[in-house]
Amino acid sequence: MAEMIVADKGGKGGKKRAKKQSTRVDLTAMVDMAFLLLTFFILATTFNKPKAMEVNKPAKDENEKKEDLPAIKQSKTYNIMMGKNDMLYCYVGSDDDPNVKVDSTFFSRSGLRSLIKDRQRAVAQKWGNQDELFILIKPLPDSKFRNMVDVLDEMAITGVKRYAIIDDFNEIDELIIKQSGNRKPDAIKTANVVVPSSK
């Protein structure tokens, strides 16, 4: 086929020239096909592979008594609640002082991250090691899945070793829920145990 076309185009040159060129194959069709397939594969492919974030939830044991679990000193903890509209409510619980200062913040470097860093420093000052910090993550039902991933991610970024996702709330939490206009989860879904995820 290719020979024929070349011969037609250069027809005036005579048969000798046509024979010389005959080793040349017209690659246009082949290139067309290659690009067609290429387009198909580019469109069909998924580029960035999704990443997995591993979560370990504490094993639930109905027989286990809550008193068996060692209590954590409030001064080592930090509470982060996720509410609706991407809001965060953070506070430090206290063993004796009923007055609690609640920071409401957003997900940002100057927001949540700097609060966690401040808390890490405070814990390091008091207990000598910032890894003593224990973060209690309390997502409210109206918070988004994105918020949960973001907070867990923030734990990884700031290097917090001990944290747990918790589904039951104390009096302070309930007050915050009420004040911020969030709602409490339905009673059925709340039964959960408080144990840190190992990381």
């Binding site: 185009k9 250069g10 005036k12 040159g13 017209d26 690659l27 246009t28 082949m30 290139v31 290659a34 690009f35 397939l37 290429l38 594969f41 580019i42 069909a44 492919t45 998924t46 960035n48 592979k49 999704p50 990443k51 997995a52 974030m53 591993e54 979560v55 370990n56 939830k57 504490p58 094993a59 639930k60 996720m82 470097r109 997502p139 409210l140 039902p141 109206d142 918070s143 988004k144 899945f145 994105r146 918020n147 949960m148 991933v149 973001d150 867990l152 991610d153 990884a156 970024i157 589904d167 989860p185 059925i188 879904k189 959960n192």
Partner: protein, 203 residues
């Protein structure tokens, strides 16, 4: 005379290099491609700095869309076949014929009450995308996800669990699935997120 002929020939471009490049790229894409999985609900996954890639094999994936509908799928055809028979036993469904079993082996993900399984597999493949998929029931009164998790894990004990939820799925809906998993003594699972560069985010 020869001088006249040379400019005439010049319209023919040498395609060899272009052809080479095209095939090179084609080869690259063929080798690296992993086909986009079936989607029954559009799910925009959140971003995180997690670095662990999602494993390729032995995945049980539970998808939750922003409305809280739950979809379920297992990745390998052999497991799917075993799962289908287990579902039939568990829910006393009429026996599936060979064609339906074959069809189910190609279903990557589904979300409807399991009683409708026969009906779903009976519909023609081209009409299947229109089959209503309101999600697998996970309410307190009727929780079929809990059975699916058990049956799938019996079919393939090595299954790992991946939860793929939309950014905007409320925590309540995600938690309902997590609670269901925990009822089956599954305390370890993966949340599927898309990558985000850690370096730009870290201080």
């Amino acid at each position: 005379m020869p001088k006249v002929k040379i400019p005439r020939k010049s319209t023919a471009v040498d395609m060899t290099a272009m052809c080479d490049v095209a095939f090179l790229l084609l080869t690259f894409f063929i080798l690296t491609t992993r086909f986009r999985p079936q989607e029954i609900a559009q799910i925009n996954i959140p971003a995180s700095t997690a670095q662990i890639p999602v494993p390729d094999k032995n995945i049980m994936s539970i998808q939750i869309d922003p409305k809280g509908n739950v979809y379920f799928g297992v990745d390998d055809q052999f497991t799917r076949e075993k799962l289908l028979f287990a579902i039939k036993e568990r829910f006393n469904l009429p026996a599936f014929n060979e064609k339906q079993v074959k069809e189910f082996k190609l279903v990557e993900i589904f979300g409807f009450p399991l009683e409708q399984m026969g009906q779903f597999l009976g519909t023609k493949p081209e009409e299947r995308s229109k089959f209503p998929q309101p999600g697998i029931p996970i309410s307190e009164e009727k929780n079929q996800l809990i059975d699916l998790i058990l049956l799938a894990r019996q079919a393939n004990p090595e299954l790992r669990i991946a939860i793929k939820a939309d950014k905007l799925t409320s925590y309540e809906d995600v938690n309902a699935v997590i609670q269901t998993l925990q009822k089956q003594k599954v305390n370890k699972f993966n949340l599927i997120t898309t990558g985000r560069s850690a370096s730009s985010d870290k201080e």
